[in-house]
Every structure is written in structure tokens, then in C-alpha cells.
């Protein structure tokens, strides 16, 4: 079991977001940080899905910084709300430990 620490950085007037990893909701605190446990071990190259949903104006963004409990950083792109879906944005990001 690996413990992930997620730090989110909302910008551009983003009003609300929710995150999940492998289908389990990540409880984010008021300082936009949270933790999640996933199957596998840090740096074992196992694949996982970060789900995100957000509300805001077109162009609002959400960046992530995710680290595993051994200190390794996980590469995850930032996401944004596109005009065609405004005011909602969502999707799933595939990442590896």
C-alpha cells in the first residue's frame, strides 16, 4: 500500500473541485491538500487513475503536486475548464507510481 500526498493549486476563479483516485474520493482540506492510499508500492510503475471534477469559468485551472510516501514525485499534468464544457470540467488522468 502506498500513501500519496496530493496538493492542488486552483486558479482562475475556480469555485469548487473534487478528486478521486482509483474510484475513491480524496478528502481535500481547506488548504487544498489531502492524502490517499493506493494499491502497490512507491515507484513500482503500477497504473492508477486520478479523477477530477471542477466548476468555474472557462480558463480556470487546477494544478497538482503528488508525492509518494517514499518522497518520489509523480508526474501529473494540470487541468482546466474548457469553454465548450463551461462551467464544468472533468476527466481522468492516468499516472504511474
Amino acid at each position: 500500500m502506498a500513501i500519496l500526498t496530493i496538493k492542488a493549486s486552483p486558479s482562475g476563479g475556480l469555485r469548487r473541485y473534487t478528486l478521486s483516485i482509483d474510484g475513491r474520493v480524496v478528502s481535500m482540506h481547506a488548504d487544498n491538500s489531502g492524502t490517499a492510499s493506493v494499491a502497490g508500492d512507491c515507484q513500482d510503475r503500477s497504473s492508477h487513475r486520478l479523477g477530477y471534477a471542477m466548476v468555474g469559468p472557462a480558463g480556470a485551472k487546477l494544478d497538482f503536486s503528488i508525492s509518494c510516501d517514499d518522497g518520489s514525485q509523480i508526474d501529473v499534468p494540470g487541468v482546466e475548464i474548457y469553454p465548450e464544457g463551461e462551467p464544468l470540467g472533468g476527466g481522468f488522468i492516468e499516472f504511474q507510481l
Binding site: 481535500m28 481547506a30 463551461e86 481522468f92
Partner: protein, 341 residues
């Protein structure tokens, strides 16, 4: 902008939260800038904020009250007072609560369920990600289904969002405001200046539901506030020199006004067959003044884009049950269309 004395002004003054009855060539006002976005960066405990703008000539202190660990809830005490001179702060308008010293207790909740992985159309995701990886092999954004589908399967994008966010998002809240206003007027016979202080209050609730490309909203707002009399030319009895002796002033004490407004509406921006935005949007709104038994319907149709692609103008269809000419059609240019309130 809102015309003082109109039902639109009465609707908009209640914490800037509610939409208005129609008035020709007037854009539908949106919710005030104090949005749930303020919760980002606000610590879990209380915080004192200061904001002052020269536009509204008010100093505002906001105390963000603790709501626990939840990001979905916001709770705040907002204190505001005029800072630019009492005369500026007391115009002869219905906007009593917005122009005097006031305190607002605001609670809000913004519900957004997480994306539903089981509902995600994996085949569409895989096709879009494959196309993305082929075209942008070094872009890590291709691992994001939202980015890939938006860029390479745009016609499917709204449908994809509706799949993974079947419930959408819901924002609701309550504002309770108490305000104190001072009024100056003159006795119409003696012209002796008079002063009186009144306490006004309002309570309002709103709910907005968001889905991809659209919003549905409803609100109810009650306000009891005093309204200054209109200004007029006041002259001493039997004056021989009106140019020197007469002045503009109010010749009557303020009167109490009540309003109870219920409204429901929607906002939608159309897309083309290829998924790109079209230059067409609508924002219908029905409002009912329960005290005056007045119905209003406002249907602005936006189709005039500005240089940035935002829709800022169009034609507005209106109906007011209390007017002789109940139906109106007018062109308008104003604030850009926005689905978010």
C-alpha cells in the same frame, strides 16, 4: 445598468444575489463578486479581510467563519460601511441596504460529486488519448482524458462530461442582512432640515444547478427597506429671489418599501455540430413580485460576440404584467454572457 426605482433594482440590491425583472436594454445582473471562490486560500479558522473599492465607495470587512475541513461550505460575516461621504452613500434609490452601513451573515454550500469512473466511456477516452499521443508524443497532458477528448474528440466533449458528471454541480446559500440608513429631508413649509435613521433588513436564498454548458437557477428574496423621497426644488414661501433662495431637496420623510421576489431561470450556450461554441446563447428568467403581484419575463438572446469571442449583445424579449405595453423587444449591449452567476 439597473435603474433606481425599478423592480430590477429591488431585485439586485439584495446582496447582489438575485436576478431582476426585465427592463428594456438592461443586462441581467449577475451575482456579486463575493463567490465561493473566496474559500480558496482562506484558512480553516476565522480571517479578517479588508476590501475597499472606489467604485462602490464602501469599506468591507469579511470574517470567514470556521466550517471545519469541508471545502464545500462557506460561512461569513460581512460588515460594510460607506467611506466616501454620506451624501454619496445615500442616493435616492431603493438600494438602501447596499448604500448604508450593513451586516450580512452568509452561508453557502457548493456540492460537486466526483467524476464517475464507472460511467466513463473508456473507448472514447482511449481513442482520444491515442490520437493525442500520436500528435503530441511528449505532452504529458495526453494522459488526461479531459484534455485529449476536448482536443481530439471535441464533438463528444459535452456528452463525455455528462457521462462522468451525471449529477452536475449545485450551489445554494442564504444571505441575511441588516442595514442602518440615515436620511435627510426638509419640512416642505418651513424648509427646516430633518434627520431620521431607519433599520432595514433582507433575507434571501438561492439555488443554482450546473450541467455542461448550462445553468438552472431559482431564488427568493424578501426585503424591507426605507426609500428616500424624490428630490425637488424647494422654495421659501413668498420668496422674491427664487434663484438664490431655492434649492434642491427632499420634501418628505422616507417611506417603507417591501418586496418579495421569486425568480427562476436558466442560461445556455449552444454549440455547433463539431462541438465548438456557437455565437448563440439564451438566459431566460421569470420573476414574480409576490407583494405587488407583478410578473416579469426576460429572455435575452445573445448573438453579438466581442473581439475575444464573448457574447456581449443581442435582442431582449420582455414581458411585464403591470405595464400598459406588456411586451417589449429591444437590442442590448452589456456584460458578457456567463453561465456562472
Amino acid at each position: 445598468m439597473i435603474r433606481p426605482g425599478s423592480l430590477a433594482a429591488a431585485a439586485a440590491l439584495i446582496a447582489g444575489t438575485f436576478l431582476a425583472l426585465p427592463a428594456a436594454a438592461e443586462p441581467v445582473p449577475g451575482r456579486a463578486a463575493d463567490t465561493p471562490a473566496d474559500r480558496f486560500g482562506v484558512p480553516a479558522g476565522a480571517e479578517l479581510q479588508f476590501a475597499a473599492g472606489t467604485d462602490d465607495k464602501n469599506a468591507t470587512f469579511r470574517l470567514a467563519l470556521p466550517t471545519g475541513a469541508s471545502q464545500a461550505d462557506s460561512f461569513a460575516l460581512i460588515l460594510a460601511t460607506p467611506i466616501a461621504g454620506l451624501k454619496d452613500a445615500k442616493p435616492a434609490s431603493l438600494d438602501a441596504l447596499a448604500n448604508g452601513s450593513r451586516a450580512t451573515l452568509r452561508w453557502g454550500h457548493f456540492g460537486l460529486p466526483p467524476s464517475q469512473d464507472r460511467a466513463a466511456p473508456r473507448e472514447l477516452e482511449d481513442e482520444a488519448k491515442s490520437a493525442c499521443s500520436a500528435a503530441e508524443p511528449h505532452n504529458n497532458q495526453c494522459s488526461d482524458s479531459g484534455y485529449a477528448i476536448h482536443k481530439y474528440k471535441l464533438a463528444e466533449y459535452r456528452r463525455y462530461l455528462a457521462h462522468i458528471l451525471p449529477v452536475g454541480a449545485t450551489d445554494y446559500g442564504i444571505d441575511a442582512t441588516v442595514g442602518i440608513n440615515d436620511f435627510d429631508w426638509s419640512d416642505p413649509h418651513t424648509l427646516i432640515p430633518q434627520k431620521v435613521r431607519h433599520t432595514d433588513w433582507s433575507i434571501a436564498a438561492h439555488i443554482d444547478h450546473y450541467i455542461p454548458g448550462a445553468a438552472l437557477s431559482a431564488s427568493i428574496a424578501y426585503q424591507r427597506a426605507y426609500q428616500a423621497a424624490d428630490e425637488q426644488l424647494l422654495c421659501p414661501a413668498g420668496t422674491a429671489n427664487p434663484a438664490a433662495d431655492c434649492k434642491m431637496g427632499r420634501a418628505a420623510a422616507p417611506t417603507r418599501k417591501e418586496s418579495l421576489l421569486l425568480s427562476a431561470g436558466g442560461r445556455y450556450r449552444f454549440t455547433k455540430a463539431d462541438g465548438t461554441l456557437s455565437n448563440l446563447a439564451v438566459a431566460p428568467l421569470v420573476t414574480f413580485d409576490a407583494i405587488k403581484s407583478v410578473w416579469g419575463v426576460d429572455v435575452p438572446v445573445y448573438f453579438v460576440p466581442d473581439k475575444d469571442g464573448s457574447l456581449t449583445g443581442g435582442i431582449r424579449f420582455g414581458y411585464r404584467s403591470d405595464r400598459k405595453d406588456k411586451f417589449t423587444v429591444s437590442a442590448f449591449v452589456g456584460a458578457a454572457f456567463s453561465i456562472l452567476q
